[in-house]
């Protein structure tokens, strides 16, 4: 195998934090290398160094040219990285929504002084690339009209169009449904077979095992393992990644309590034109976890907004323990609903405020944290210290701005904030999305613990494994409608897939 890329002894420090500690990494042509690690392990930093966004404090990077000869890459120059054939697909797409696929691909490849865009040649080249890679997109479609999976294909095509020899994908499946992820894996294998070198950044063990040839594990800025995929298993990778054994929480059988949250023929429209709800009925009892599965964008957001008090039903009734639920976030909190928002950065926290202040955000009017309108800082600190200890929140301290925390620790702050109020119902919307194994296991443990305390739980998730592991019953959302929940004992992945796909067949027809 010929070497495509060689990272040698790269060290990157931010103040006292060593984000990358003498990392060596080799990548060969035709190989898919998975870069595995928890949030904050140094994956993104390393890729930013490779791509020239950061300058490494020590170490060097060499890249193979078209002839296979290794040449060192000038540090700190994204332009040089692009020129050396390195292409990256970021988690958050960089596409101009109002332009077509073709225009997006060509964007930035032609000098400003060029007389025309060369669209005809570009189209021919793209059609050839699409044929070879199996990445099919309508070239004349506007980006705004594409699905997330299609947008990702455009991003990969952009990289291929620039004749990249090294393709880096940063958490590419975070935005995909399981079906779309499988399609992506097939594409990556085909691209690798044609000689492309691929770096696949992930923290999901299953997909690493499914797609990679080799896996390198980063932990705390260091490379702790680098071996062929053949010799590893899930458990081993998890241990390497986290540095300790992960306990898996198991659901124990128990008899659920009386009905708690009852939705009766609820309909609702969202102003943004996203899917709303269409005659949804659902009963959640105390001490059970009801899962909501479905392909993203089928009304899960509307259902979550409704239960969280962020949106109002246009028809039907919503009651909690027999009392009608008023549509306001305040009312939902006071009724005893613990809400874990889908996008924790957008809705869960206020970045510049401290950990202590964020923890108190839902209880600001209670005498616990204020007296005559003045904040009781001693109480705020004390509560925060307790939460930090109880939920193992890794942070510089209660006064630290919460934006400095990793995603997993931010989620723990949100958990602490909502669970300490002794809720009757928990609404968990994608509670483990983007979290590493350790943090996700902690979230699962907390949810199961709440279930044992007779709390009713609505778990909305796109991770079917998660739903099957935690839920007592699972219902599927399709185009704003909810199927009747089925007991998890009689459900299989295939059956769930069938229920979810029901709407796809309709669409195709």
């Amino acid at each position: 195998m010929t070497l495509a890329l060689s990272i040698e002894g790269v060290t990157k420090r931010f103040g006292t934090l060593v984000a990358n500690d003498r990392i060596d990494l080799a990548l060969h042509r035709g190989e898919i290398l998975a870069l595995l690690g928890e949030n904050g392990a140094g994956k993104t930093t390393l890729m930013n160094v490779l791509f020239g966004h950061y300058v490494a404090d020590e170490g060097s990077i060499r890249v193979a040219g078209p002839d296979g000869a290794l040449a060192s890459l000038p540090p700190g120059s994204p332009h040089a990285a692009l020129g050396a054939g390195i292409g990256m697909v970021h988690q958050h797409f960089a596409l101009a929504e109002s332009l077509t696929v073709l225009q997006n691909v060509v964007l930035g490849t032609r000098p400003l002084s060029a007389p025309h865009l060369g669209l005809r040649a570009a189209r021919a080249k793209l059609e050839r690339l699409m044929g070879e890679s199996g990445l099919h997109v309508r070239l004349n479609a506007r980006i705004a009209n594409l699905s997330v999976g299609e947008k990702q294909r455009v991003e990969i095509l952009k990289v291929l169009y620039r004749d990249a020899r090294i393709l880096i994908l940063d958490e590419p499946t975070a935005v995909l449904t399981p079906q779309e992820a499988d399609g992506l894996f097939a594409t990556l294998r085909r691209l690798a077979a044609s000689g492309l070198a691929v770096i696949f950044i992930s923290h999901k063990l299953g997909e690493v095992l499914a797609v990679a040839d080799r896996v390198a594990v980063l932990r705390g800025g260091r490379k702790v393992s680098d071996q062929p995929i053949a010799g590893v298993d899930r458990r081993m990778l998890a241990t390497l990644m986290v540095g300790r054994e992960i306990g898996v929480s198991r659901r124990t059988l128990r008899e659920p309590g009386p009905p708690l949250l009852v939705l009766d023929q609820v309909s609702m429209r969202l102003p943004s034109g996203r899917a709303g709800l269409d005659g949804v009925s659902l009963t959640v009892r105390g001490g059970e976890i009801v899962g909501i599965a479905g392909v993203s964008g089928n009304g899960q957001a509307a259902l979550a907004a409704l239960i969280a008090g962020m949106a109002e039903a246009s028809a039907g009734s919503v009651t909690l323990a027999g009392k009608p639920l008023r549509a306001s976030p305040r009312a939902a909190i006071e009724a005893g609903i613990a809400r874990i928002p889908e996008d924790r950065h957008a809705e869960g926290i206020v970045g510049p405020l401290s950990v202590a202040e964020n923890l108190a955000l839902e209880s600001l009017d209670s005498p616990e944290v204020q007296r005559l309108g003045f904040l009781r800082f001693d109480r705020l600190r004390e509560r925060a210290s307790q939460a930090i200890a109880a939920y193992d929140i890794r942070c510089p301290g209660p006064e630290a701005p919460i934006r400095l925390l990793s995603g997993g620790n931010i989620q723990k702050v949100i958990l602490a904030r909502v669970l300490e109020r002794d809720p009757r119902l928990i609404l968990a919307n994608q509670p483990t999305r983007g979290l590493d194994v350790g943090a996700a296991a902690e979230v699962h443990r907390r949810l199961l613990e709440a279930r044992m305390n007779n709390v009713g739980i609505v778990l909305i998730s796109e991770d079917l494994d998660e739903l099957l592991a935690l839920c007592d019953r699972i219902a599927v959302m399709v185009k704003g409608r909810l199927t009747a929940p089925e007991p998890v004992e009689t459900l299989t992945l295939e059956r769930l897939g069938l229920l979810m796909a029901g709407h796809r067949e309709e669409e195709a027809a």
Binding site: P75, L353, A360
Partner: protein, 350 residues
């Protein structure tokens, strides 16, 4: 090639140093237009410094000028913290001044001891009410408050002129468009003999302290910060975003209204249409220089006031137009914005 790397952590010393460096840069840059006007640069700067702080009189004059800037600076700072862009400070200042002369010139018969508090309350109320409309329009209908508050400035100023030519015109004013004077009992007493510095300055300092306590120590302050930094998360956490925004609008407008009362009841005693020398607009610069920190508004306002007062002295002595002060203030705003960039990003040369 220059590259900007975001800083993870901003050292406190940099936070303090950045605005000071920005001010120094603004002064240095103003040497260019000074030279273009043919002024001897060093002498011009010397005259400015002497004019702003060269004597007890000069210092008193600078603090007098700083007084309305502290009020409007606080008004801008608290509003901007809640991401409510109140550009209508000038109008709210005039509304406050108008209310002050209406109440203070004998409309109400009451114990003289109550007249000053009444004038202040009326002015704050007038400024606050003027801000209520734009705030409601923003929260209910999504109307951009920058546009509404800015345009209201002109509406209010024209209204004031109309009143000064009509209903409120002083019959003893010799035909000038000016209001009847505020009664003696309603005037803010001077702080130093034979100087213009008046009790309004102490009131401004008190306002700065109270605004700081409000923002840093109270639940409302925390809610304001939450709403300003992430309104979606604030709403999700059950904070009444509309209510908080409207309260902030009222406080901001009220502070600007107090600037008007302090000017009219602290200096001339009667209202004219040239009461404010752009204090409403300069207040925005003051707030930005202060990094939207209520306590820092005081030194920022004193600095900007010093530039105005010093430029007046300089222009009288060497004949350069005192518009140079506006130029320096504008440069100060630009330098602060650039300074903020340097504060948030590390510059790398490669």
């Amino acid at each position: 090639m220059i590259r900007f790397e975001p800083r993870g952590h901003i050292p406190p010393i940099l936070r303090l140093f950045a605005p000071i460096a920005a001010m120094a840069a603004a002064l240095l840059l103003s040497a260019l237009p000074l030279a273009a006007a043919g002024a001897p640069i060093l002498r011009a700067f010397w005259l400015m410094a002497a004019g702003a702080a060269g004597s007890v009189f000069a210092i008193a004059e600078t603090l007098t000028r700083a007084t309305p800037l502290i009020f409007t600076g606080l008004a801008a700072a608290i509003a901007f913290r809640a991401r409510l862009f109140n550009i209508g400070l000038e109008g709210q200042l005039y509304a406050g001044a108008l209310a002050a002369v209406v109440v203070g010139s004998g409309l109400i018969d009451g114990p003289p001891a109550l007249l000053v508090p009444l004038i202040l309350a009326a002015a704050a109320l007038a400024g606050a009410l003027l801000m209520l409309g734009p705030a409601l329009l923003k929260m209910r209908l999504g109307v951009d408050e920058v546009v509404t508050t800015l345009l209201l400035n002109f509406v209010v100023l024209l209204f004031v002129q109309m009143m000064l030519e009509g209903a409120l015109k002083d019959p003893m004013g010799g035909g000038w468009p000016q209001s009847e004077p505020i009664l003696d009992a309603g005037m803010l007493p001077p702080l130093v003999e034979r100087m213009r510095l008046h009790a309004g300055f102490l009131l401004a300092l008190l306002s700065s302290l109270l605004t700081h306590v409000l923002m840093a120590q109270t639940v409302l302050g925390l809610k304001i910060r939450a709403v300003g930094e992430n309104p979606a998360a604030a709403r999700f956490a059950g904070i009444g975003v509309t209510r908080v925004t409207i309260v902030v609008a009222l406080i901001s407008g009220g502070l600007a209204g107090l600037a008007g009362a302090s000017e009219v009841a602290g200096l001339k005693g009667y209202l004219t249409a040239d009461l404010s020398r752009g204090f409403g607009y300069a207040g925005i610069v003051v707030a930005m220089v202060a990094g939207l920190q209520p306590l820092a508004v005081v030194p920022a306002a004193i600095f900007i006031a010093g530039v105005f007062v010093g430029a007046d002295t300089m222009s009288r002595t060497i004949g350069v137009s005192n518009y140079i002060a506006d130029l320096i203030v504008a440069l100060a705003l630009l330098c602060v914005l650039v300074g903020g960039l340097f504060m948030r990003f590390r510059i790398r040369w490669s």
